[in-house]
């Protein structure tokens, strides 16, 4: 739809945010070059982007009141599918990654159908159960998944030339830019959805399903799209994770931690703000690795937890939500 184009959405972001956003974007693009040859920092950047992608994908259905407690399901499906496709069928990891993401999107659509009319906590519990069921399936379907041993030796993403960049700055650079591309795509899709009729419909579904349906909104369809797109990118994050670590097992791919993490990151950054979840992921992951672990090597998780509790108590709109409100930026669609 013409009036929902991402370009226009960007143009309506207040000046200061546009420049801060462009600055952060440039930094993200140049990070591997700035920090070279410290591969560890590139790796940290990649993981931030992967978790940012997971958190950002969690945020889309959350716009419609669909609070998922089981995003590990999509992450794990993406990880396993990409691993199996590239290991067993020798597909190129790039193709495997895309196919795995599409499969995870299909899982999102199926989840929307199965959850049906469930709302609120009932939906959350259903997604939690879905992730657990998939974990158990991955654990016991040994002929396919090798069970608890997990799949090892997954091929990494073949380095892209990028004008000798990968050669000069190490093999991690390809992972980094793949993650950056996926996160950017997710953010553009979300910006577009927020400006499109679907964005209004999502908010309407969150605030009152009965009223929305009486106005002609097909609730099931809205949920299918939201969870399908969310599954696509969460599955992409999982697939990328598998190719980065070259290994996947049920306990890590479907771990409860991966379901809770995007929720915490999105709350921290601000789940109502477009870039809130990714921002939360960046602050928490980088903050934990670079600040908390240096300050208190033995008790960094205390600091992590404390930071999350403080934000949730005092800035219920999240850190970016608070910043945006203070700076008088645009809050949600007009």
């Amino acid at each position: 739809m013409r009036d929902g184009s991402p370009v226009r959405a960007l143009r309506e972001v207040r000046g200061i945010f546009r420049w801060v956003g462009i600055g952060a974007g440039c930094l993200a693009v140049l990070l591997p070059i700035v920090v070279a040859p410290r591969e560890y920092l590139v790796y940290l950047g990649t993981m931030t982007l992967v978790f940012g992608l997971l958190a950002q994908s969690w945020g889309l259905p959350a716009q419609g009141g669909l609070i998922s407690f089981g995003h590990a399901a999509f992450f794990g499906v993406g990880a396993y599918a990409s691993a199996l496709l590239s290991l067993r069928w020798q597909l190129s990891p790039w193709i495997a990654l895309v196919a795995a993401a599409v499969l995870a999107a299909a899982c999102g659509v199926v989840a929307a159908e199965m959850a049906g009319n469930l709302a609120g906590p009932y939906f959350s519990l259903a997604t939690l159960a879905m992730a657990e069921i998939l974990r158990v399936v991955a654990l016991h379907w040994t002929s396919l998944t090798e069970g608890a041993w997990g799949l090892v030796g997954i091929p990494g993403l073949p380095p892209m030339g990028m004008g000798g960049l990968a050669h000069r700055f190490g093999s991690r650079v390809t992972d980094y830019y793949a993650a950056l591309c996926m996160l950017t795509t997710m953010c553009v899709v979300q910006a577009w959805i927020r400006r499109a009729p679907l964005g209004l419909a999502l908010q309407a579904v969150r605030q009152g399903e009965v009223r929305a349906a009486a106005l002609g909104v097909d609730i099931r369809r809205v949920k299918r799209i939201a969870l399908g797109v969310s599954g696509l990118f969460a599955g992409g994050a999982g697939a990328l994770h598998a190719h980065i670590f070259r290994w996947v097992d049920p306990a890590s791919a479907f771990s409860l931690h991966l379901s809770v993490l995007p929720l915490v990151m999105a709350m921290f950054g601000g789940s109502r703000v477009l870039l809130g979840p990714a921002f939360g992921a960046a602050v928490l992951y980088f903050g934990n690795e670079l600040v908390f672990q240096r300050l208190a090597p033995g008790g960094h998780l205390w600091l992590y937890g404390g930071a999350v509790i403080l934000i949730i108590l005092f800035l219920p709109d999240g850190l970016l939500g608070w910043i945006e409100a203070r700076a008088g930026g645009r809050r949600g669609p007009v």
Partner: protein, 243 residues
């Protein structure tokens, strides 16, 4: 062929019969007042016609087609819309966005885009006296304004049948008159309107026909003045004489 027909509609909630064997015809360009004491089944009938509830027995026909199994959004797109007794606009959205939703989703064939819908929503709000507040969040409205917003959201889809549940509650006498005049204009444009309200006099002044419900059954039907004077209706409202 009637625009909308309820044929032998019944609805039970457990052992409680909310509506029993109700048959009703709604014609274009006609305002029907649906009256009856509290708990007589008026809102349940609306829920069955607009699709929020499925009947325990009976059918709903729309332009001759059986739509009993249609979900609410499909009925809305076909031309049935309603307001809710407890006003339920989306409180975090602006008035304009609330109305635009109806334009975007209730009329899917007229693709106007989100900007077009917001502009048209402004006109709809103007018709009902809410233009000045179009950019405000719905949560800042008074009860009377919320009810008018409910009406604007329903009208935005240009429904052929409009079911209006208690829109006059909380309105000043002047606002109530304006709403009734507005409904009369919609009737002149061909809409069928079914009105439920506790302000009987105002209601009957604008209605072409009245249907009285009591304990889930139709007890009287016809010209408004005849229905209100009918002994069964008086008895339903006031109790049996001499007891």
């Amino acid at each position: 062929m009637a625009l909308c027909e309820a044929i032998g509609l019944s609805r039970r909630f457990g052992g409680n019969v909310a509506l029993q064997d109700v048959t009703l015809r709604l014609e274009p360009a006609t305002i029907v007042a649906l009256i009856g004491p509290n708990g007589s089944g008026k809102t349940t009938l609306f829920n069955l016609l607009a699709g929020q509830l499925r009947p325990s027995a009976g059918t709903v026909r729309w332009r001759g087609r059986d739509i009993t199994d249609w979900p609410p959004h499909r009925r809305c797109r076909a031309g049935i819309n309603r307001t809710f007794q407890v006003a339920r606009p989306f409180l975090d959205l602006t008035l304009r966005e609330n109305v635009a939703l109806g334009l975007l989703y209730g009329r899917p064939l007229e693709a106007v885009g989100r900007c077009g819908a917001l502009a048209r929503a402004q006109d709809v709000l103007g018709d009902i006296g809410l233009a000045a507040k179009a950019g405000e969040a719905a949560r800042d409205l008074s009860l009377g304004e919320l009810k008018r917003l409910e009406l604007a959201m329903a009208v935005a889809t240009q429904p052929a049948l409009l079911l209006i549940d208690e829109v006059l509650a909380g309105q000043s006498p002047i606002a109530a008159q304006e709403i009734l005049a507005y409904l009369a204009r919609l009737r002149a444009q061909g809409s069928a309107i079914c009105l439920v309200d506790h302000r009987l006099q105002a209601l009957l002044a604008v209605a072409d026909r009245a249907v009285a419900l009591h304990q889930g059954r139709v007890i009287a039907e016809g010209r408004p003045e005849a229905v209100t004077k009918s002994p069964v209706v008086l008895e339903a409202y006031l109790g049996e004489p001499g007891r």
